[in-house]
Amino acid sequence: MNYYQQEVMRIKALCYPNDKQLEAVIGIRHYMDKNFDADINLDFLSDIRFTSKFHLLRLFKRYYGITPKQYLTIRRIEESKRCLKNGMSVSQTCYTVGFETPSSFSTLFKKKVGICPVRFQKEQFLQSPSRSV
């Protein structure tokens, strides 16, 4: 066993001894991956896992480094990029990925991606292989 393998085993034993907690947070992440477009909140997620929402929030942040809400936002932004690349309109993309209003979606998209959805879509179109010379 080399040095790196020993370190992996050491960190695994130190930081991840509780399989039940891991199973809970991984289950929550998978649920959000499959249902990112639904109206998901902490109360709902804690009901699924039969645990308190504060406990769930702490566990998720401990194991993934971000809150469930932050993860859901990342997932939705990823999906919205895919929709925009495929030519879907901004408002349709907004509702498809689970945001409530196009204006809040555009604001959040610009904050996370650095450019607004319309400009992102335009840049994708300009970069598409069919347009390269």
Partner: protein, 131 residues
């Protein structure tokens, strides 16, 4: 400030290009001569060709401390960098079938699964899947 390029030291640029494109599946992006037998040689992920470029840099050949550092990491089994995959087990089986040597088989560690292989150019590379 943006992240456009990350560098990986390689012992042989020709061999690295072959491994990173033909085995790992990356696509060549830039290949510019920069004096002697050195090139500014980058590859990108096939599905993100406008994304971050991986620079296959010939530093171990040109700068002794780079060679020393690379060897120390390699001997300890420490990955130089890591790439994301959807399914570590599937990628492990695909690469192993192509003759890639793994120093760590797929291993779950908390919320990720990892595996480590030899890139044939002096580095251990880790692949990661979020669980």
């Amino acid at each position: 400030m943006k992240v456009r390029v990350i560098g990986i030291p390689v012992q042989d640029q020709d061999r690295a290009l072959k491994f990173y494109t033909e085995i790992l599946g990356f696509v060549k992006k830039h290949d510019v001569p920069v004096g002697g037998k050195n090139r500014w040689l980058t590859v990108v992920a096939r599905e993100e060709q406008e994304g971050t470029e991986v620079l296959l840099e010939p530093s171990p050949d040109n700068f002794e401390p780079a060679k020393t550092y690379q060897k120390a990491l390699f001997d300890a089994g420490i990955p130089y960098t890591q790439f994301d995959v959807d399914d570590v087990q599937q990628e492990y089986e695909r690469l192993a079938a192509l003759g890639v040597e793994f120093s760590m088989a797929p291993t779950a560690m908390g919320t990720v699964k990892i595996a480590v292989f030899n890139d044939t150019c002096g580095n251990n590379i880790q692949i990661v899947q979020m669980l």
